[in-house]
């Protein structure tokens, strides 16, 4: 009896044993940092003397770091800016990548494999490099586009206060459209051929096939790419950070992540930065949640 008991115990221990390496890493690199960040966002440092040489105390601060983060107009402005960015850029990009995927998967497409690779290519270029490349097309004095605009009497200003956000949106769209397109293409490929054949027998036009068969069946892929893009928007960091050096209108807290970065590393205020990070995570969670709720409701 006892031997049977130990055997069953071994049986229940086995999955845990196999999971252990993963769980250890998961706790160490995911759960712990989150807990530390949350803990840090509730502490505050007070200093005595000119440099804290007469003593430094760390106290529990309730929500004062959150209050300070939310009182920072730049941080709030950056979240508002990203919401605007998201509404325009994500919508455009999802529409564009869906269109590209449908065109590539249509029966009359030429060299679909080649064009898939070409559209996907920008994703292989690191964000920093991509931004530097684009900045050469944006900066007046270097940009052939600006010079070309002058020939036609156009004053192109890619880095102005009103336009630089869309110049960033352009880089992001350029980078990620191909990537999102691949996800949609994968889902398109999983549609059984019988469905197409049935549509053909019924005499459906390509437009009708796209509208009534393909679009409804790739819904999961569209929802997935949209949620990823919403989260990606709030995490926007590299493009504005690099473009900052040529675009004076991008300030140090242009996006929420840049704001947290500046607070942590330029201002050395890890506690407020942690509060900002928690707030960004909450907003990302909230937006994804609302989006999933809306799309789920529609499908019912």
């Amino acid at each position: 009896m006892s031997s049977r008991k130990t055997a069953s115990r071994q049986l229940t221990a086995a999955p845990w044993l196999l999971l252990a390496p993963f769980l250890a890493l998961f706790v160490l690199t995911f759960v712990l940092p989150i807990l530390v960040a949350i803990g840090s966002s509730f502490t505050k440092v007070t200093r005595n003397g000119l440099f804290g040489e007469q003593g430094v105390q760390t106290d529990f601060a309730w929500f004062s770091n959150y209050a300070q983060a939310l009182a920072n107009g730049n941080f709030l402005a950056s979240i508002g800016r990203m919401l605007l960015f998201g509404v325009v850029q994500v919508t455009l990009m999802i529409a564009l990548c869906t269109l590209l995927a449908l065109l590539l998967e249509s029966a009359s497409a030429r060299w679909p494999g080649f064009f898939r690779a070409v559209y996907f290519l920008p994703y292989g270029i690191p964000g920093v490099i991509a931004t530097i490349l684009w900045s050469f097309l944006y900066v007046p004095g270097l940009s052939p586009l600006v010079d070309l605009g002058k020939v036609f009497g156009l004053q192109l200003d890619f880095l102005g206060a009103g336009s630089v956000l869309w110049s960033i949106a352009n880089i992001v769209t350029w980078t990620y459209t191909g990537y999102n397109m691949m996800i949609i293409v994968a889902q398109l490929k999983s549609i059984p051929t019988e469905v197409y054949e049935a549509a053909k027998v019924d005499g459906a036009s390509p437009w009708r096939v796209a509208r009534s068969i393909q679009l409804p069946l790739i819904r999961p892929a569209l929802v997935l790419t949209t949620v990823f893009s919403i989260i990606g928007t709030l995490q926007l960091f590299v493009e504005p950070q690099v473009l900052k050096s040529v675009a004076p209108t991008i300030d140090s807290e242009y996006t929420p992540n840049l704001s947290a970065y500046a607070t942590a590393f330029a201002y050395n205020d890890y506690n407020v930065a942690a509060a900002q990070a928690v707030l960004i995570a909450l907003v990302a969670f909230l937006l994804s949640f609302i989006f999933l709720r809306l799309t789920n409701r529609k499908s019912r």
């Binding site: 807990l35 530390v36 949350i38 803990g39 840090s40 509730f42 502490t43 505050k44 440092v45 007070t46 200093r47 000119l50 440099f51 804290g52 040489e53 430094v56 105390q57 760390t58 529990f60 300070q68 730049n74 900045s135 050469f136 900066v139 007046p140 004095g141 270097l142 102005g160 206060a161 900052k244 050096s245 040529v246 004076p248 209108t249 991008i250 300030d251 140090s252 807290e253 500046a262 590393f265 330029a266 201002y267 050395n268 205020d269 890890y270 407020v272």
Partner: protein, 446 residues
């Protein structure tokens, strides 16, 4: 008997873990190394190795000169990214973890920020003050706080005016001696299709340098806390001056000095001069086709006030809190920055800015330069400039944040906000930032 459900056990575990973390979360660097006993020098015959984190290139070659003479005190250079491009983040993290090098390169303006995390050793406790005589007094003033010494000046950046002789001759101008002249020449140059300089809205340190030249001294460490005065006459007049210069399109705000578009414009002759630090000479040589065209003149002066020159940049070799051999680290830093062989090796290998030593600018800098058309510019222009600087300026613990605040205001110039109002607003925001850090600060009026 109530049994603990799995969920409540999990909740209990989570909250206990969070509480433990909160408890363990005391901010690193809360205990000052400068309040405990000093560390004695190494025993005679004991061999030690010092590490030195810096973004100077080929610094190991400089250390090798020392290593050859001091077999028992070996110095190992480790390259880090430049200060705010990642180097400081790495240093702060190392300090927070209780580690870090013996010595690290810290900019003059960042010394107080490192003091705020108790990251630096007060080297006056190891006899640094006896070396004060060897250094430029302005620089020594910028490493001295609270009767202590928190870094050894390593290089500096006295300012002058670099200009294109051919472009100035074309409009019949000689280098301006006052900022008024500068504005007049700028207008002439605009007609000839060049800008006299650019005004980087995104980098306020240049503006700060010129306000310093006009006699400003923004923050001071007093016994009862920090005092701030950014809205003195000198600063506001400099802000007004550049407000006018930008409004009249005398300077361009499209790019900053030494940025990619700046190099393109300079190569095309669209930039006729720039007010910059001595280390700009090396960068100017990156402008294509520039050789022989550029000359150096003294920085223009503000009429009726201020100083002949100013400074941008400059760094120190600072002894870090967790060094086990601060005495030897200090000796090496002093050797490197004041001995002839140390300075010459730094200029030859690392291309440092201006030598911090009072009496020696380096052998290489005592001869005419072919790039500047045979001008002996270092002795003619920069050496006198080091003696005409504002000695009262000192840095403060939120330098980086303050400059970001000021730049964020300047960026709004494009949408019509004047520099003057940005300076006024920045002062209030900096006071706020000091209070958020738990430091005391008060406004003084001049």
């Amino acid at each position: 008997m109530s049994s603990i459900t799995r969920r409540s056990a999990l909740a209990l575990g989570l909250s206990a873990g969070t509480a433990a973390l909160l408890g363990a979360c005391s901010t690193p660097g809360t205990n000052s190394v400068n309040s405990v006993a000093t560390i004695p020098a190494a025993q005679p015959g004991e061999k030690i190795t010092l590490t030195y984190w810096a973004w100077l290139k080929d610094l190991q070659k400089v250390c090798d000169v020392w290593n050859a003479q001091h077999p028992l005190i070996q110095v190992e250079a480790v390259w880090t990214p430049g200060g705010n491009s990642g180097g400081y983040q790495k240093m702060y993290s190392a300090l927070a973890a209780g580690g870090g090098p013996d010595l690290a390169q810290v900019e003059l303006r960042s010394i107080p920020e490192f003091m705020l995390v108790n990251g630096l050793v007060d080297v006056s406790r190891y006899g640094a003050k006896q070396y004060a005589e060897r250094y430029d007094p302005t620089l020594w003033n910028q490493v001295s706080y609270l009767d202590g010494v928190y870094g050894i000046p390593q290089d500096a950046g006295p300012m002058a005016l670099y200009y294109r002789q051919d472009l100035f001759q074309k409009i019949g101008a000689t280098p301006p001696t006052s900022w008024q002249d500068w504005a007049t020449i700028a207008a002439e140059l605009r007609k000839a299709g060049s800008y006299i300089d650019c005004f980087a809205l995104a980098d306020s340190s240049w503006f700060a340098a010129l306000a310093t030249q006009a006699g400003a001294s923004w923050l001071k460490a007093e016994h009862d806390g920090w005092t701030i005065n950014m809205t003195d006459r000198a600063t506001l007049e400099v802000a007004e001056f550049f407000d006018r210069a930008i409004d009249k399109d005398l300077v361009t705000t499209n790019y900053g000095q030494y940025s990619a578009p700046w190099f393109a414009a300079a190569a095309n002759g669209q930039i006729a001069s720039l007010s910059s630090a001595s280390w700009g000479d090396a960068l100017l040589q990156g402008v294509s086709g520039a050789s022989g065209k550029w000359r150096v003149a003294a920085l223009p002066r503000w009429t009726g006030k201020g100083f002949g020159s100013s400074y941008v940049g400059g760094s120190t070799a600072a002894v870090f809190a967790h060094s086990k051999h601060p005495q030897e680290a200090l000796e090496f830093a002093v050797w490197m920055t004041t001995s002839r062989e140390g300075i010459d090796a730094m200029i030859a290998n690392s291309g440092i800015g201006w030598s911090p030593s009072k009496d020696y600018i380096g052998a290489q800098r005592q001869q005419p330069s072919a790039f500047f058309g045979g001008q002996d510019y270092n002795q003619q222009i920069f050496l006198p400039a080091t003696k005409q600087q504002n000695p009262d300026w000192s840095w403060w613990p939120l330098t980086q944040q303050s400059f970001e605040i000021l730049s964020d205001g300047f960026r709004k110039k494009a949408s019509g906000t004047s520099l003057v109002s940005s300076v006024k607003l920045a002062e209030q925001n900096i006071i706020e930032a000091f209070k958020n850090k738990g430091l005391s600060i008060r406004k003084v009026t001049s």
